[in-house]
């Protein structure tokens, strides 16, 4: 990677990034794939190269192996254990690797940083022993570790059932599943079912199979759970001791929460790209065209970071972005680009068929977006919902002003976790739609970097 500029720099080695890198290299683009983990796969395929064929994680997970293999076999350069801390729209990336900062220039940058879990701000969500369902999955994927003691899964969404099934196969069945799907969601989803049945049949079948697998294992399941809260021990490390909900409670050593995933918009917001509030998925998404191109010609987005659609859709969108990058850089004729895109678009359409149904069925209850006053909204700075409301009543018009008044969003996570909560709380307090309230404007460094590395003092 010694030339002055590479053609395409891809951020994120999940399905979108891996697929984009392999195809871009095949199309003759000088490509580099940058990722902060030390092996490819992103989060959904984390640890995929070392996964055994009989992994409890299942066939869908194993499908990531071929993507990783294609990446390795391609001519794309791969920079693992490398973090991006600044991007200039002129195509300059500031990276940090092994404690040293360096720059890389690209003609086109593809952001493929995927999705993150929606924060689940129930009372007690900051207690030790309360984690996301995805976290339990990461323990399995990276280290073959399973919960010891009583693990309770709570929330809703396909991942909830997937993790439950994976834990059962791994010999550590959860103690209970508390599904929070509100009753009204079933009516909304039922209305969409006729149109979804045929085009979404594969996904529906898979989902039903997972639910059946979990039921057959005899796990206690509660539906329409409301008022979920985690209670911690009175002494010692205050870790979670039991989980309570309206009408029930259960002892727990580990509480795994999940209320769906949302696009990871940290870099796209930092770049000042246009974002829209998606009312169906209840999240911000960057404004992109059908190729993933944004309002800034050098920047494109692929995968769940542009809108939640799942791993298979992500690799398709990665390939579409690679085709578009090649055309943008005059290495592919636009008509040829369109021709090659056609089967990808058809496949993408099939992948997207299930989404409206899932979005309706697993729509978070209002309290997930706007929690009660005494709940911590900003975990890093320990700012409560009440403090955010007070800032709004005192004149803060959006999350950036609220940040100035309360310190919410000033911690190391830079608003990744609290962002959705703060925007929703302010919207409700000010009586305005979230779309009008806006989101945090993150700045560089996108991830923390030491002063020494920043000063260019080299590796530690």
């Amino acid at each position: 990677m010694t030339p002055d500029r590479v053609d395409l720099a891809i951020i994120g080695a999940g399905p979108a990034g891996m697929a984009a890198a392999a195809l871009a290299a095949e199309l003759g683009l000088d490509t580099v794939l940058i990722d902060e983990q030390d092996s490819p796969g992103g989060q959904i395929y984390r640890g995929i190269e070392r996964a055994p064929e009989n992994t409890p994680l299942g066939a869908d997970y194993l499908a990531g192996k071929s993507l990783a293999a294609s990446l390795r076999a391609s001519g794309a350069a791969y920079l693992p254990a490398t973090t991006i801390w600044h991007i200039d729209p002129d195509g300059t990336l500031s990276l940090i690797s092994a404690g040293a900062s360096r720059t890389l220039r690209a003609h086109r940058i593809l952001i493929a940083t995927g999705a993150i879990e929606r924060p689940v701000p129930i009372p007690g969500w900051t207690l030790p022993g309360v984690m996301t369902a995805g976290a339990a999955q990461i323990m399995l994927k990276t280290a073959d570790l399973v919960p010891a003691g009583r693990a309770v899964l709570a929330g809703q969404g396909p991942l909830l059932w997937l993790v439950a099934a994976q834990l059962i196969r791994a010999g550590a069945p959860p103690a209970a599943i508390l599904e929070t799907t509100p009753h009204r969601n079933y009516h909304a989803a039922a209305r969409l079912l006729p149109a979804t049945l045929w085009p979404g049949r594969r996904a529906l079948r898979k989902g039903l199979a997972l639910i059946r697998e979990v039921r057959r294992a005899g796990i206690p399941i509660r539906r329409e759970v409301r008022g979920l809260r985690a209670i911690g021990r009175a002494t010692g490390d205050k870790s979670v001791e039991r989980v309570v909900w309206d009408g029930g409670e259960i002892a727990a050593d580990l509480l795994l929460l999940h209320e769906g995933v949302i696009p990871n918009t940290q870099i796209s917001l930092a770049l000042g790209l246009d974002h829209r509030w998606d009312a169906a998925q209840l999240c911000w998404r960057p404004a992109v065209d059908e190729w993933g191109a944004t309002g800034v010609p050098t920047i494109a987005i692929a995968g769940d970071g542009g809108g939640i659609a799942g791993a298979a859709a992500a690799s398709l969108s990665g390939r579409l972005a690679a085709l578009d990058a090649a055309a943008f850089l005059d290495k592919l004729d636009p008509a040829e680009r369109d021709r090659r895109a056609r089967p990808l678009r058809a496949a993408l359409k099939r992948q997207l068929a299930i989404r409206p149904f899932l979005d309706a069925l697993y729509r978070p209850a209002p309290a997930v977006l706007v929690p009660a006053d005494d709940i911590v909204a900003c975990r890093c700075e320990e700012v409560t919902v009440a403090q955010i409301r007070r800032a709004a009543r005192l004149g803060a018009q959006g999350p950036n002003q609220a940040k100035a008044f309360t310190r919410c969003g000033m911690g190391p996570c830079q608003g990744r976790i609290c962002g959705p909560i703060v925007s929703a709380v302010m919207a409700e307090t000010l009586g305005k739609p979230i779309a009008e309230i806006g989101a945090y404007r993150p700045r560089a460094p996108y991830k923390p970097i030491t002063l020494g590395a920043l000063a260019g003092l080299g590796a530690e």
Partner: protein, 371 residues
């Protein structure tokens, strides 16, 4: 049409300090402010309440800064009592570090000039050598040759100050009108009307404190505010145990424990993007000053635009054409908060600026420079 005793345009540190002072003086002021996305120099502030570097060649500015520094503790105490918000003001004195003999000599010359220009008003400073400095600042790097020190310097939390001024203003009966830009303005002597969207407000007194926005607004009121943007970037580290007992011009520790590093000066127009090379240069100087800083993680950083008058000295003015119109412009909204609330606002309330404010008038830019 809502009528007030005074309108302050601009809800940043300058506007809200003046508005607070007006409310405290018994007026019913309105404070009109922009929305969540605005340049807002006040949100980018480093937080120094700084005297030693201010007013070289402009003794009136030196005196005004000292006055503000003296008023600061009372203002901070009053805000704490009335709003419950502690703005974290400390005045332990401060230093400007010099990383070479040449820097040290130049700094000494500046300090000496300040002292001479202060005349009877007095300006006490000391030049400290590296050995003496080492006793005051932990882990000082070998590259540090010395520093200038005065007892007048200190620091505070600028965001808490802004919040406290807003809260105090509202508590005193002020009306805060956020999320507005001024669509039109009509000026008559002692009669000013502003329209913003469907809303209209009027008052016999108006203060333009809209930062960079003042440049366009001022002529509508018979005033001139030729300010331009100067970009500054700031880095903030993770929270650390308390290391510093006093601030320096480019490195200070907040009450929460994060260490702030600052002081770039870039002439780039209305551009708030960050520059990695500038951030690197700031980091380098900080690490040279305190090598142990190298291990700390920068968890946040930003770029903001200072409101910079052509000669760096504040512009305070009252309109001759339209009596009752005033303007305040400076790049030191934190340092001058004491003067703005406790000296400038009472002048506005009384209807005229004091005679010793004349050197701050924008008329000084009309005078051709002596050859």
């Amino acid at each position: 049409m809502q009528r007030f005793d005074a309108i302050v345009i601009g809800g940043g540190l300058v506007g809200s300090a003046i508005a607070y002072g007006l409310a405290r003086a018994g007026l019913r002021p309105a404070l009109i402010d922009e929305g969540d996305v605005a340049f807002r120099a006040s949100r980018g502030n480093f937080g120094l309440v700084w005297v030693q570097s201010k007013g070289l060649g402009a003794p009136h500015y030196q005196r005004w800064t000292r006055l503000s520094s003296e008023e600061w503790p009372a203002l901070a105490a009053e805000l704490a009592e009335r709003t419950g918000i502690s703005v974290g003001h400390e005045r332990p004195g401060g230093v400007h570090l010099c990383l070479s003999e040449a820097e040290f000599a130049e700094r000494q010359a500046r300090m000496e000039q300040m002292r001479q220009e202060a005349g009877n008003f007095g300006f006490e400073y000391r030049m400290l050598g590296a050995d003496e400095l080492r006793g005051m600042l932990p882990g000082l790097g070998p590259a540090v040759v010395g520093a200038s020190w005065t007892r007048y310097d200190g620091h505070a939390n600028s965001l808490y100050l802004l919040h406290a001024l807003h809260k105090g203003f509202v508590a005193r009966g002020g009306t805060y009108i956020p999320n507005r830009t001024v669509d039109y303005a009509a000026a008559q002597p002692n009669d000013f009307r502003l329209g913003s969207g469907a809303a209209e407000i009027s008052a016999p007194k108006i203060v333009l404190a809209a930062g960079l926005g003042n440049a366009k607004l001022a002529p509508l009121f018979g005033l001139s505010a030729p300010v331009r943007p100067q970009r500054g970037q700031i880095l903030v580290t993770e929270r650390a145990g308390r290391m510093f007992e006093m601030p320096t011009t480019t490195v200070r520790q907040t009450i929460e424990g994060g260490i702030m590093i600052g002081d770039s000066m870039e002439d780039v127009g209305f551009d708030t993007s960050q520059r990695p090379d500038v951030m690197a240069a700031m980091a380098e100087r900080a690490v040279k000053s305190f090598p142990w800083l190298a291990e700390l993680q920068v968890v946040r950083a930003w770029a903001a635009l200072r409101v910079m008058p052509p000669d760096g000295t504040p512009i305070y003015d009252e309109s001759e054409k339209f009596a009752g119109a005033f303007t305040a412009n400076c790049h030191s909204g934190v340092t001058l908060a004491g003067a703005h609330a406790n000296a400038f606002a009472p002048m506005v309330a009384a209807g005229a600026l004091a005679p010793d404010m004349v050197p701050f008038s924008a008329k000084r830019f009309d005078v051709p420079q002596a050859a």
